[in-house]
């Protein structure tokens, strides 16, 4: 279930970081979409989405991230992803999205 799904935001560094924990699926992806849309609407055209604590991710989640990336780039910024877990990275690889996103191995790297 999605009891452990959580989104937190950190504006402390040069690039704001939205951290997600738990499973991003058809049930939880709308929450992430709303948070990312709100951030872009409030002026954050460049941000990082930290997926280090994500345990499952489906094509609904990919769609949300691609939509957010598009909005960031239209606003002149970028959306970086933080991924270390091979199982999560695999989903981006098999869909060809590693060529689309800037993927970093750590939050520090994404903030540079």
């Amino acid at each position: 279930m999605d009891q452990t799904f959580e989104i937190t935001e950190d504006d402390g560094g040069s690039v704001p970081v939205v951290s997600v924990a738990g499973e991003i699926d058809v049930a939880t992806a709308p929450q992430l979409r709303d948070r990312l849309q709100a951030r872009v609407a409030s002026g954050s055209s460049t941000m990082a989405v930290n997926l280090l604590d994500v345990t499952f991710l489906d094509s609904t989640a990919l769609g949300v991230l691609v939509g957010a990336l598009k909005r960031c780039r239209e606003a002149g910024g970028d959306l970086r992803l933080v991924i270390a877990e091979p199982r999560i990275l695999k989903v981006f690889e098999i869909t060809g999205l590693t060529e689309v996103f800037t993927i970093c191995g750590s939050v520090d790297e994404a903030r540079r």
């Binding site: 699926d25 058809v26 049930a27 499952f56 489906d58 094509s59 609904t60 098999i94 869909t95």
Partner: protein, 138 residues
């Protein structure tokens, strides 16, 4: 590798059936069942994770979060494979139809399972997949 659309042969094995309403927060039950059946079939951890994601994409290839109806699953465990069929049964008499699957879902299915396919269009459709156990775990 995509299937040609014909149903997989229903030959032998143990079958577990699950029916859920089309509700976003219940699709996790389809994943949990897939993981349990694959585990009991001797699949490795990575294969189980592949199957969890694949069954999710199977659902998403048929329905969206706003659809109404039921999803009926059959999980068949045989000596060397797990075969999962998912049938969307719409509720009501409206024009609601099964979806045709988006590109991301189909790419994921292509990469994670040995065969997949689909039967039927319109109001009721069935999508299926088959994943064979890796030789090292046979």
């Amino acid at each position: 590798m995509s299937g040609n659309g014909s149903m997989p042969p229903a030959a032998g094995g143990d079958v577990v059936e699950l029916t859920i309403p089309v509700k976003a927060d219940l699709v996790v039950l389809a994943r949990l069942t897939a993981a349990t059946v694959a585990s009991r079939a001797g699949f490795g951890v990575e294969e189980i994770e592949d199957l969890r994601l694949a069954v999710e994409e199977l659902c998403l290839s048929l329905v969206g979060a706003d659809d109404n109806g039921r999803l009926r699953f059959a999980y068949r465990r045989t000596d060397d494979a797990v075969t999962i069929t998912c049938t969307f049964e719409p509720e009501g008499t409206g024009n609601q139809e099964a979806r045709t699957g988006d590109e991301l879902s189909l790419r994921i299915l292509d990469a994670l399972v040995d065969e997949h396919g689909r039967n039927g269009d319109g109001r009721e459709a069935t999508a299926w997949l088959r994943k064979r156990r890796a030789r090292s775990t046979l």
